[in-house]
Symmetry: C2
Subunit: 316 residues, 2 copies
């Protein structure tokens, strides 16, 4: 089949990839659309320890599986696949199973191809009201939602730092959950996506000097973003880390102790909540899409997604 | 009056210090006993931005105040004095009032002297069942308790790193609140304090390789302690920072995000809980006292408290 493959330090388009074979309990899915996220760019740049087909944001059609009722269904899929036997899986935390595979990220081929496989239990039906383009956002929107399971935002003053896709989705999710949310970014074009929402979208120079927030979300992907985020968190407030950075970061942990700040690492979220947020119809998604490229032009898509100021680039 | 004074880069004993004058709402207290803590050693070493009389762990007798019922009472006192007017004070969080003074630490003379002053509302009666020596521990024991307001420990596997006074008190407090607690230290003599409790006190070499804990408390006061603590925290677990370190620390925040760890800064706690813990009679305190020195020998007391392996040194 056709797909993008990362190996030997480079990403390439190949037409000779073997068809994936569904293991027992898994479904074979034909990919309709897939989205490029920052993690994919990091994989393509060799920052992650992954070889294979990247891609973890997708919508597709179930082609083959043991459960006949699922065949033909349009689905999205949770990306973490636990072993099913460890203490984390027993606690329904497959996201933290030490031997998990993760679609297109860890030990499992992903969505930048014609087909992929995932356990049936990872799949969720996509409501008819959502287009394919919108459905691709379920994974990052669920990740955005995840922080609300960890830190209450209702009535809180929340600052999201970073106007990347995850930052923009997070700000919108916080708004729907009744936080008073400000998003601070660098790209007027990206901030424009939030027009018509109640998110206060500002450039850094427009932040009120000296103001601190109950909850600050770092979605900058930059070490200096985290340092800035800490300084903007009020005593007893929460600093949520939504984006990873390649190298260790020097942090003033004295301030964390003295101001009793909580730093909360936050990753994947439950798709049921991402879908529910999307069905409110209030999340601006189409405005976040730059362009879709056919699979054959996947490398071009990666190039476009890596440009500063890029929004969501789709493949398919 | 007599007291220890830190100024011009050195700590000295002086007999010519002015008597403190109680402001409206404050009480004048004659100090019976005071304890030396690591923060005091840092003040004496010039690491903190403080000039004046240090000391914040004390028990004393109210000598003079507006409320006649208080005169003659044996008291301990909360060390943070808020402005009473800001948003933090309005939320009953004077510990985080931006213009607060802190007894012997920030803008307010402390307990290594014959007398001190504190707002009446900061004072707590000491039950007759507690000796002066024990009562000095109310402040650090309340600080140890504070983390239990932030992170649940009941039924959790809790690891306390560091066998200093705060580590030993924290481990005992966690045990009383039904955590399964291990304390890991470097000094067999200090670990011995925990004999007869249900705290599992071990040397580093005795930690089970590869085991991770639901809650890890860093009370080492060393940057490498925090890095080690992070590695010992299980996915979705909590790393509680109880001790400050002078310089910024390089942390692998990728692990924090991927494993969704919460890093929780934790400082002072409510004395009512410290007193309640102490009244259970289950906390080993006398075993933690090395020696008491008279005020005149305060510098010797500081020297003794600064020696590696030292436990609690008292003045008075």
């Amino acid at each position: 089949m056709k797909g993008l493959y990362y190996g030997n330090g480079k990403l390439e388009f190949r037409a000779d990839l073997p068809m994936p074979v569904a293991a027992p309990g898994e479904a074979l899915i034909r990919v309709l659309k897939a989205g490029i996220c920052r993690t994919d760019l990091e994989i393509a740049a060799g920052y992650m320890d992954f070889t294979g087909i990247p891609g973890h944001e997708f919508v597709g059609i179930v082609e083959k599986t043991e459960n006949p009722a699922l065949v033909g269904a349009r689905v999205v899929g949770e990306i973490n696949c636990g072993c099913g036997a460890c203490e984390f899986c027993a606690r329904h935390e497959p996201n933290h199973c030490p031997t998990r595979t993760v679609l297109g990220i860890k030990g499992r081929d992903g969505a930048f191809a014609e087909y992929l496989t995932l356990p049936e239990k990872n799949l969720h039906h996509v409501p008819d009201s959502l287009s394919d383009d919108e459905a691709v956002f379920v994974e990052p929107l669920s990740a955005a939602y995840r922080m609300m399971e960890q830190v209450p935002v209702r009535g809180m003053n929340v600052l999201v730092l970073g106007d990347g896709k995850l930052g923009i989705l997070t700000a919108q999710a916080v708004e729907i959950l009744k936080g008073n949310v400000t998003l601070c970014g660098r790209h007027p074009r990206k901030l424009k996506v939030l027009e018509g929402t109640n998110v206060c979208a500002v450039l850094e120079s427009e932040l009120k000097p000296g103001k601190q927030y109950d909850v600050v979300v770092d979605a900058t992907g930059r070490p200096e973003g985290i340092v800035k985020a800490l300084a903007l968190t009020r005593p007893r407030g929460s600093l949520v880390l939504k984006s990873t950075v390649a190298n260790p970061v020097k942090l003033d942990l004295n301030a964390v102790v003295i101001n009793e700040i909580s730093i909360v690492g936050s990753r994947c979220g439950p798709f049921v909540h991402g879908l529910a947020l999307m069905e409110t119809g209030k999340i601006k998604l189409k405005q976040m899409i730059d362009r879709a490229y056919p699979l054959e032009e996947g490398l071009k898509a990666f190039e476009a997604a890596g440009k500063p100021g890029a929004l969501k680039v789709l493949i398919g």
